[in-house]
Every structure is written in C-alpha cells, then in structure tokens.
C-alpha cells in the first residue's frame, strides 16, 4: 500500500477518463450485493474500489474481476454515493490493457467450433473484442 507518484498519476487519469472518484465510496458494498456475476469474481466489486482507494494496483492488475464485470450497470443504478462503478471497471480494464500494451483476447484464442460460430450472435463477438482488446 504505497501511495506513490505512479499511483496518483494512475488515479488522476482514472478520474479524468471515467468522471468517477473512488474516494467517494464509503464501502457499503451494495454494488457487490446486487452484482449478477459476483459469484465468479475473485475480488468483490466493492473490494475493487477499496483497492483503488488503497492504491493496490498490482493486485487489481492480477484480478479477474474487471474482466468478469458484464457492464450491466446494476451497481451504478443503486449506488448511494452516486458512483458509476461500471465506468471505473472500464477504466481499470483500459489501464491494464494499455500497461501491457497488448490485447487480452485475439481471434486465435477463441476455441469455437464452426457450429458454435454459426449460432453465436455477431454482437457477442464484437462486444468481446471491444472489451478485451483495444
């Protein structure tokens, strides 16, 4: 937990791009309580914000949670602090992708049979690449 200069740079960038300030959160955990995909997450949504507050960026980089987040805006709709966590999650995803200078998903990674590809809506592919690759 070191509030280094890089942390401040990171947070400033995050605030600017998402319009959200993690310090506005008082950890009621309502986001986690309502999240439909929380069961698959290693960090709960409110913990992601807590980690942002504490500057635990390395842990966030390793976490599955931002990639599990389905951007369904349930958390944002109910947050008593009026924070849009969906935006913060996107901010974290982008930061990780940019930091690694690489994509998290490439067409080669997809292990889909031709039948599956036939059935899978185009929308699913487009959105996956939007989320996992830049």
């Amino acid at each position: 937990m070191i509030f280094s200069e890089s942390y401040h740079r990171f947070i400033d960038e995050l605030k600017k791009n998402t319009g959200q300030d993690p310090n506005q959160c008082y950890q009621c955990a309502k986001c986690s309580a309502g999240c439909p995909v929380v069961a698959a997450m290693d960090l709960l949504p409110h913990q992601v914000i807590r980690y942002l507050q504490l500057g635990l960026l390395g842990e966030l980089e390793e976490s599955r949670t931002p990639w599990i987040c389905a951007s369904c805006f349930t958390c944002a709709a109910r947050c008593p602090r009026d924070l849009d966590l969906a935006r913060l999650m996107e901010g974290v995803r982008l930061a990780v992708l940019r930091l690694r200078e690489g994509n998290r998903l490439s067409p080669a990674d997809l292990e889909l049979t031709p039948e599956q590809l036939e059935k899978l809506p185009a929308q699913a592919l487009v959105s996956s690449f939007r989320k996992y690759a830049k």
């Binding site: 008082y26 950890q27 309502g34 999240c35 929380v38 709960l44 008593p80």
Partner: protein, 661 residues
Amino acid sequence: MPRIGVFICWCGTNIAGTVEIEQVVNAARSFPGVVYAGDYRYLCSEVGQKLIKDTIKKENLERVVVGTCSPRMHEVTFRKAVAEAGLNPYLLEVANLREHCSWVHKDPAEATPKAIALVRAAVSKASLDEPLTALMLDVEKRALVIGGGIAGIQAALDIADSGYTVDLVEKEPSIGGRMAQLEKTFPTLDCAACILTPKMVEVAQHPNINLLTYSEVEAVSGFVGQFDVRIRSRARSIDPSKCTGCGICYEKCPAKVPSEFDMELGKRKVIYVPFPQAVPNIPVIDRENCLYFKRGRCRICEKECPAEAIDFEQQDEIIERRYGVILVATGFDSMDLTGYGEYGYGQHPDVLSALQFERLFNASGPTAGQVVRLSNGRPPQRVVFIQCVGSRDIARGQNYCSKICCMFTSKQAILLKEKLPETEAYIFYIDLRTAGKGYEEFQRRAAEEYGVIYLRGSVGKVFPEGERLLVRGVDSLSGRPLEIEADLVVLAAASVPRRDAPELARLMSINSDRYNFFDEAHPKLRPVETHTAGIFIAGACQAPKDIPEAVAQAGAAAAKAVTLLSKEKLQSEACVAKVDPARCSGCLHCEAVCPYGAIAATETEERVRGELLTRTVAEVNPALCQGCGCCTMTCRSGSVTLQGYTDEQMLAEVDALCLQR
C-alpha cells in the same frame, strides 16, 4: 465635524501580535475629526470600558470608534459603555481588527496598513453617525407551541409550569405525535405509551395550556413579543362539550379507510380517534371520506350517539391571537421509499418500513399485536432488516445520517426475538452508530444475548421467490455474497422533515437547511433559537433526533421562551429603514421584498403647478422593521435608507478604504 475618539484594543496578543498598535494609534490621530486616539490591552474589560467612559467626558467626545474584535462579540458591551458616559449608543463604530485583520494575516507589514484602513473607514462612517432611539415594545405573555409530539408536549408543559399561558396547536385529532406510534423505546425498552400517556393527560388538564388539536397555523405576522397568528381549528363535526368519548359512534360507523396512525397497514373508521389513548378523547369525522359528506346519506353516528354530540353543520373556527413567543416542534416524516424499487417496497406486502413494522407489535395495531406476515398472516421465521434506506444516499435519498435507525433497528430485532424467540433476525448495516447513554450496550445485547445477526454490508435486491423473499446481499467483512430466504424485510427509512415544513418556514420567516429541516441560529451556541427573534425550535423538525434529545431540546427551547416572556418590555431594533417621501416614486417594490411586512403604502401631498395632488409613497413601520436592508437594495432612487447604515455612510467608508496609503 464632530469630535471623535479612537480606542484600539490589543486583545492580548490576538491583535497586538500581528498589528503594530502604535502605528495604528498614530495614524488615527491624523484622521479628520479625531481629537483623541489611545490603546489598551483589553478594552472589553472593566478597566478598558472605564477608559472609554472617562475619555468621553474628559475630551468631550461626540463619536467613539473602537478597533477591537467583531461587533458580533462586543458591540453591545461598548454601546453600553458609551451610553453610560451620556452619549447616544449608536454614535459608536466598531472597526473589526481581529477577525477581519489580525487573525487572517501573518505579516504585520500587511496587517498594520489594513488595520489603519479599517479604522479610517470606521472614523469616516462615525462622523456621519446620527443618534438613534429604539422603541420599547410590549411583550404578550402568551406562548404558541406548534406540534403536539413529545417535543411540543414537553415544551408546552415547561412553559405552562412557569406560569405562562400556552396554546398548543396540533394538526392531527390527537397529540402524541410519532412517539405515540411506537411500541417500546430504546435503550430501556420502556413502553412508549406508558411514559407518554401521562404527559398527554397532563397537557389536557393543565390550567395554563389551551389545547387546539385538528388545527393548523395559517398566518403569522408581527415580531418578537407581538406575533399575530391566525389558526384554523378544523371542524371535528362533534360538539366537544357534549361528547363523552364513549366510542359508540366509531363502533357503528360503516365506512373504513387506511389508518394514518397505523402507517396505512390497518383501517380506521371515518369517524375516529387515531388511537385508544388519544388526547382529547373526542373523535373527528373525516369529511373527505364520510358517506354523509360525500353522498348525503348515512348519519348512523348521529343516530347512535347517546350524547347527541354529532354536529354535521359545525364550521371551521378561525382563531386570531397575539403571542409573545412561538415554539416550533413539528417533528418528522418517514421517507417515501417508492424510489427504492430493488427492495420491493409497495410491491410486496411483506416488505415494510420500520414504522410500519413497529405497529405490528402494538396491541391496538393492525394485527392486534401479532407479529405476522401480511401476505399470509403467519409468523415470520426469518426477518431481514436493512438500514440506511434513504439515509446517507446522495443519489436517491438524503445526504445525512438519520441517527436513530441503528438504535431502533436493534430495538425492533430485540422485540422480535422476545415475541418470537425462534425467529431469526438479520441486520444489514453499513456503520453502526450507537453514541448515547446505554446505546452501545443495548446494541451489543441484541447481538450477544438475543442472537441477532449483524451483517456489515448491503442488500442488492429482494426477489419474491414463491411465498418467500429472497434477499440477495453481501457481507463485506468476509467478502461473501449472501442469499437469505426471508419472510419479512424491514427497511429503516430515512427521517425527513414534514412535507409541509417549507411552507411553515415561509409562514414563520425562519430559515431551513437544504433538506428543509429548520435551521438553528447558531449550530453550537444558539441551538434552539432561530434567526427570527422570538421563534424557537425543538425536536426532529430541526434534524433527526431520538426521544431524549428531543425532550432535552424542548426543555431548552421552553427556557429560552420563558426568558423572553418574563420581560416587561423589549427593545426594538434602532437601525431601521426610513423612507424619504419626496424622493419615493411609490413603486412599492420595497413592500414586495420586505420579509417582515414592515412596509406599507401611505398617501402624501405635494403641490404641482399650484395644484395640491396626493400620491402614494412607501412608509416603514419601525416596530416591525428588523433592519435587514432588503428595501434599500431594491429602491432605485435610494429613497429608502437604513438608519445607521445610510448610503452616505457606506460610501464614506468605501472612500476611506480606497484612499491611497
């Protein structure tokens, strides 16, 4: 040019530590009209005041300027000193050298010239000061208390016990307020009715209290000592001198509507008393729903009443009365939760607000004291309490903490466990706030003795699943998502001001905060006074409060009210506005903006080309004027001026400040 004396105070090191006193005194000697300039370590002390008084006499001073702390602190002190030396007290000017200068500067090189400029401005203004005289006004020895909850009851009793007459106005048919709706009170688990009812009866029997229930304040004018108030006492449709309170009328009444007292969970009759211990024990007919008033037929109550007390023709009564003081204790509402769709409030009968749940425990409540699910009438096996619903919520609710919910939720969980020991109770909380005598211990008892399970976290959504409610939440301490199959969900709704609070604030000319809670005059030092002299506040209309706090505040407000009532005369404001009828064009915009109703139209005569014409101009009533200055702002031609703060005086100050150093 009048003879002016200047006195600079060191205020120990408060001023002298940053301002070079000697330089200021020397500079002051050079200002026009100044015949004396001196300094003293503590001017507000007896010795300091004596210095001023002696110098006035010795130097024949006609105006006095003190360079001291803020006039809010000691203007009154120095005015008194000046008056004792035989000068009109309004011939004193205060240059604020502490708050406006020494406290905000570090560098004497900056502070000293500024202090000199402030003194120069005060001297310029003082040379234009005129003697002013305040009016002495009578004090009407009667108090009005608005709101008959526990705070209003306590305040009315305290004032009445001091020997003054009190009118207690309550909007509902009975006094008692929110406390009457409660089953038990924390942290002692006293029965609310057992401790409240005796006080209600005392109010009814007190020779100095005039109880006006089913009544509302409609208009307030006047000022401290002489408030003129119009009260509408709504027609009960029952002759109170005949009614014996036997209750046959409401037994027989065929029409039912949801009961406000039971938070709409149960029904009440259309002729009703809100609850069995009501004071006065006289029913009212709810004319909006009465079959006779709606359709012209029924009159069963009239037929059944053995005392012949029913009076369908009764009219609202308008009471116009003068009061010396007004005390506002209008209490709070439970926030409307329809904006919180995720909890299913209003969608599912087993999702209740805390105040609704409280009614389930009450023997005269909607379930006759049975704690059951309203969906099926069976006792719940698992109850989930959710705190902070609407409180601490900047998105859909109130920014503030409602303060009482942590405690009443623990209380309700304990009551539940006492009634149904096998039932599980879960409380979702964000933070537990148990500051208060015996509060922490009480909450711990709930957890340790009664086995109430506290979950630190929130609920995302309540899903109706079959007959039960699936509560999906999270315990943030363990980081575990939770799903609880519950039978009842109780929401700790935020405490909010009464819906009509803004209207009442406007009526009384008192300030409210951004949430519409009434504002105290000073958050620390004047907690029960308002900015309007003679109007006091008590209880949850000022901010969310528990019973002990509301009662304590009511006592304090009553003491303040009595202090005022005990005075024979009150001095009015001397710095009041004045109209120059020759300049006034009579547009009366000043009348429109005057918050105190102190300005009215009057006729004046003038000669135009040999002919005598009358025309309308504005006139200030000095007894009503509080010297706020709104009128002077709105007058284009400067025809209204505030005495003691005339345009000439203000300009003289500005000119003096703008002089090159």
